[in-house]
């Protein structure tokens, strides 16, 4: 099976940020994303709204440079004011060409 090495950016953030984050991801060069509802503790704690500890998990598969831009922008614009956790992992993606935007 042919796979392409790419980066997986995982963001765990407050639900109110979902719309902003996902539109920024696309603007930064991601070809798509996946959002899952989650809940937990730690950084998430009790935030906006009637459902405590709720969060969204946003996963993006992208080339390393796009991933780096995403991580940089998220840390710059959100870390100070909001609950956001970000990590990078390396993944081997099937049909990897789908995840890379060609200029």
């Amino acid at each position: 099976m042919q796979t392409t090495p790419l980066s997986l950016v995982t963001l765990i953030a407050e639900p109110v940020l979902e719309a902003r984050l996902t539109s920024r991801l696309l603007a930064l060069g991601a070809t798509g994303f996946t959002v899952t509802e989650c809940h937990g503790e730690g950084s998430l704690g009790r935030r906006a709204g009637d459902i405590p500890g709720a969060g969204v998990r946003i996963e993006v598969v992208a080339a390393r440079d796009v991933a780096d831009r995403i991580v940089e922008e998220v840390s710059r614009d959100y870390f100070q004011s909001y609950s956001v956790v970000v990590w990078l992992s390396e993944v081997a993606v099937v049909r990897g060409e789908k995840f890379v935007r060609h200029r």
């Binding site: 109110v16 935030r47 709720a54 909001y82």
Partner: protein
């Protein structure tokens, strides 16, 4: 006032709320599944809107002009007053004051329902078009408070104007305003068969409300632990300001020509604090505002206060004013 309070409190909805609080204090893990909670709120809001629209068509726009003006007046007065009290008497930061004021400038639909039910039970049927006023008071207060917060200084969040569309298209507004529109346009013949399901006086609505109140109790109980962080001033604020807003609102309603029941419900709307529409709007615009303050005040203090003390007080005020 004792019998009024007893009649108000020993009903399934407030009792379910109390059960929720006690269960949470007893460390139950139980929560209503989120989708069910949201589904029930859709039902409640849609019913309010639909019936309100039908009743508005019956009553006509003329009947609602002065009450609408009174409502808008309250929608402007409450966030500004709340902000000033918090900032200057409470010494909260600009962001915290504006964030909390945004909650108190808006309203709680569930408290509205509780007030309508209590008024009805006391023989003081409120005007049927009250949900229209609910829709009017829901959003302006949030934007006014956020604008004050934005004026107060640079914020890390989005500009206050950007959140206008999001608030106006959020669940509560779509269901309330949409329901009002549909109810208004609908022919009477269409309302009759569905009324037993949506009418606030009917069994289905009251039944759903009790389950919803159980979840409210669980939520409020969860927040009780944060009272210590919230502090004495804010706890006092969360009881005194609603009482002041509630009595003032009742008076405004009386001046606008509402019946005692309607005036008391309007007062309750002014006295209640939002915990659904306001929090995300504040979070996005004023992230420096601490959500623990506003949510604990609104859910753990003001909501039960209005249920236990406020609504009987505003009803009493309304009957006294009309005597």
């Amino acid at each position: 006032m004792g019998e009024l309070a007893a009649a108000t409190l020993l009903a399934p909805a407030p009792l379910a709320f109390a059960l929720g609080v006690v269960a949470r204090l007893g460390r139950t893990e139980f929560r209503l599944p989120k989708d069910i909670y949201v589904g029930l709120s859709v039902y409640l809001l849609w019913s309010l809107g639909l019936q309100g629209g039908v009743e508005l068509r019956h009553a006509g726009w003329g009947a609602i002009t002065y009450p609408a003006l009174a409502t808008i007046g309250l929608a402007v007065l409450t966030p500004v007053t709340a902000y000033l009290v918090l900032r200057h008497a409470g010494r909260f930061s600009v962001a915290d004051s504006a964030g909390i004021a945004a909650h108190y400038g808006s309203t709680s639909a569930v408290t509205f329902i509780a007030a309508s039910t209590a008024a009805r039970a006391a023989g003081l049927e409120p005007e049927g078009f009250m949900p229209t006023l609910l829709a009017l008071i829901e959003s302006p207060g949030i934007h006014i408070a956020l604008a004050i917060g934005a004026l107060g200084g640079k914020s890390e969040g989005q500009p206050a104007g950007a959140v206008l569309r999001e608030v106006l298209t959020a669940r509560t507004m779509v269901l309330l305003m949409g329901g009002l529109t549909v109810g208004y346009l609908m022919r009477e013949a269409h309302w009759t068969p569905i009324a037993p399901f949506f009418d606030a006086r009917a069994g289905a609505f009251k039944a759903v409300l009790t389950i919803f109140m159980l979840e409210m109790g669980l939520l409020a109980g969860e927040r009780l632990g944060d009272l210590r962080r919230v502090g004495l001033f804010l706890t006092g604020f969360a009881t005194v300001m609603p009482a002041v807003f509630g009595v003032t609102g009742t008076w405004f309603g009386h001046l606008a020509g509402l019946s005692p029941g309607g005036a008391a419900v309007l007062g309750t709307m002014a006295a209640s604090a939002s915990y659904i529409a306001a929090p995300p709007a504040v979070r996005v615009t004023l992230p420096e505002a601490n959500p623990t303050y506003s949510l604990t005040a609104a859910l753990a203090v003001t909501f039960p206060f209005n249920l236990l003390v406020g609504i009987p007080l505003y009803l009493r005020t309304a009957t006294w004013l009309s005597a």
